[in-house]
């Protein structure tokens, strides 16, 4: 197990971060005054209603959006430099697998782009396929797999190369609750095995509390952070933990935070 106490050297550090979109109806403050530190090996969830900027913040970390104010450091670099250094894997809400590539071919895509040798590509594809429990599905095409399996393949694709940050934008949002529970459990195991730093956007309070070491509660207009909760739950979490007193207490605090955010409406 990796050392996960590295709070002293934040992987992601935002200071006074703001992002304003200019629209025809005037400026929209997608993010305003966001301060946050994420340490190595943390599992951080961003939760809040639509328009609170949680996805925008994740996209800023990925340098898919560019903040208009404040400072954002990823792995000690600017977000853009971190993107160019391929510091993170990104999992979108939809699996977004290429229909013309097999599952193995899809996972190979980032490896091809990053110029890995063919033999290493094969080895890595096999490794991440087993990591997400999809052994034997490498030769299938995406349409031959269920939605949950497709999303697992897209996680495998994000894990295939050596990025120590994993950014996930509502990866299980389109899946039913039973599949989602199982994938959440698997994600925790994956996190324990790989020691990656994970940023996870979600709409679901139980999902956020179950997964995270740190829960960032956000609210809209302007998009901002209203509460940051460091979870006292142990890193080993069976599904039953969701009935424990601590779990319900954290869930309650998240709910209060969400409600406080709405009090300004």
């Amino acid at each position: 197990m990796k050392d996960v106490t590295g709070a002293a050297a934040p992987v992601i550090e935002a200071t006074g971060l703001g992002l304003t979109f200019q629209t025809n109806d005037g400026p929209v403050h997608a993010l305003k005054g966001v301060d946050l530190e994420i340490g190595r090996g943390e599992f951080v969830s961003f939760i809040g209603p639509s328009g609170c900027g949680k996805t925008t913040f994740l996209r800023c970390i990925a340098a898919l959006e560019h903040p208009t104010e404040g400072v954002l450091r990823v792995n000690g670099m600017t977000a853009e430099a971190a993107r160019q250094a391929r510091s993170y894997g990104y999992v979108f809400q939809a699996a977004g697998l290429y229909p013309w590539r097999t599952i193995a071919g899809n996972i190979r895509l980032p490896l091809e782009i990053m110029g890995y040798a063919r033999a290493e590509q094969d080895e890595r594809v096999a490794r991440v396929l087993s990591l997400v429990d999809l052994e034997g599905f490498g030769k299938k095409f995406p349409w031959q797999l269920s939605g949950g399996m497709q999303q697992r393949a897209s996680i495998a694709r994000a894990l295939a190369f050596d990025a120590d940050i994993l950014l996930m934008d509502e990866p299980f949002g389109a899946l039913d609750e039973i599949v989602r529970d199982r994938l959440n459990e698997e994600l925790l195991k994956l996190w324990a095995r790989t020691g990656k730093t994970i940023g996870f956007v979600t709409h679901s309070i139980p999902e956020a509390v179950y997964l995270s070491t740190k829960i960032v509660v956000m609210s809209p207009r302007p998009g901002r952070i209203t509460d940051v909760i460091d979870s006292p739950l142990p890193r080993e979490r069976p599904l039953e933990i969701r009935d424990s007193k601590e779990f319900l207490e954290i869930a309650h605090r998240v709910r209060e935070g969400l409600r406080a955010g709405h009090a300004y409406d």
Binding site: L64, R86, Y88, G89, F92, G96, Y98, T102, E112, I113
Partner: protein
């Protein structure tokens, strides 16, 4: 089997209408001849005559069929009377022009998708090029190219390409832009270059659009090649057969050449369709 009956019914209906029209259109000449000879033909005589004239206004289906059969199977294929030989002359120009047009269309589309200046400047010209009647521009292409010493298959192929690049261009611009924002963002997270984005995402995603365009393009190519054979008073090709047929009032020859061209076009579209199915199936997209 269920589809056979409707097809037969439609073919039969066309034949009935065609025979009726042949009797109607050709009878004027029959009556004219009879009046000169001072005879009074019966209706049966008239109908029989309209089916067997040498230069009918509208040849009857069996006359066209016989002309087609005679042109295809009744001649050595090296003969200048062979439709196979003329068909090959046209086909070779068609395929060359199709190749040039497809290549040009794809290259322009890639340029348009990657370069804003090209996006703004090329498309209006491409559209304008298609508003000019091909019959007006074909003779000029032939004459200009002949004046610089280019004759033979190439001028015809150029006209053919002129018609076929456009559907490929339009289809490929649409196809190359088909990947959505998320798919493009994914490649950005890999820090993929524009060339990698083109090869790994845009081109594969555009293939279904490309094939739809190729079907239109190959038929347009054939039209271009035939039109290219008309102005120079060409002696070879289906266009030349059409032209000489109209010079000498050989309507049966014209219709036989028309049907040969139609069959050729249908065959080409079927071949493109077969390649499309095979390719998309291999890619897991069909």
């Amino acid at each position: 089997m269920r589809s056979v009956l409707p097809v037969l019914v439609v073919v039969l209906a066309i034949l009935v209408v065609w025979y009726g029209a042949a009797v109607w259109l050709n009878s004027a000449w029959t009556y004219d001849q009879a009046a000169r000879a001072g005879t009074h033909p019966t209706l049966v005589d008239v109908v029989n005559d309209t089916m067997a004239q040498e230069r009918p206004v509208l040849p009857a289906p069996h006359q066209v069929a016989r002309g087609l059969w005679d042109g295809v199977a009744g001649q050595k294929i090296t003969s200048k009377r062979s439709l196979v030989w003329h068909g090959w002359v046209t086909l070779s120009a068609t395929l060359l022009g199709f190749g040039i047009g497809t290549g040009l269309g794809i290259v322009l589309a890639v340029g348009i998708v990657h370069n804003r200046a090209m996006d703004l400047s090329v498309m209006p010209w491409a559209i304008a090029s298609q508003t000019i009647p091909i019959l007006a521009i074909a003779p000029m292409v032939i004459v200009v190219l002949a004046s610089v010493g280019v004759t033979g298959i190439l001028p015809k192929a150029v006209i053919s390409a002129y018609l076929s690049f456009f559907p490929v261009l339009v289809g490929m611009v649409k196809g190359l832009r088909a990947p959505d924002g998320m798919q493009l963002d994914l490649l950005r997270t890999y820090n993929a270059s524009r060339a990698q984005t083109l090869w790994k995402l845009r081109l594969p995603a555009s293939l279904p659009y490309l094939f739809a365009s190729l079907k239109v393009g190959i038929a347009a190519s054939l039209v271009g090649a035939i039109v290219g054979e008309l102005p120079a008073g060409a002696t070879a090709g289906l266009g030349a057969r059409l032209l000489s047929g109209s010079y000498y009032g050989q309507t049966i020859q014209i219709w036989a050449a028309l049907f040969a061209a139609a069959a050729l076009a249908a065959g080409l579209v079927v071949i493109v369709g077969a390649i499309e199915r095979a390719t998309l199936k291999r890619m897991g997209m069909a």
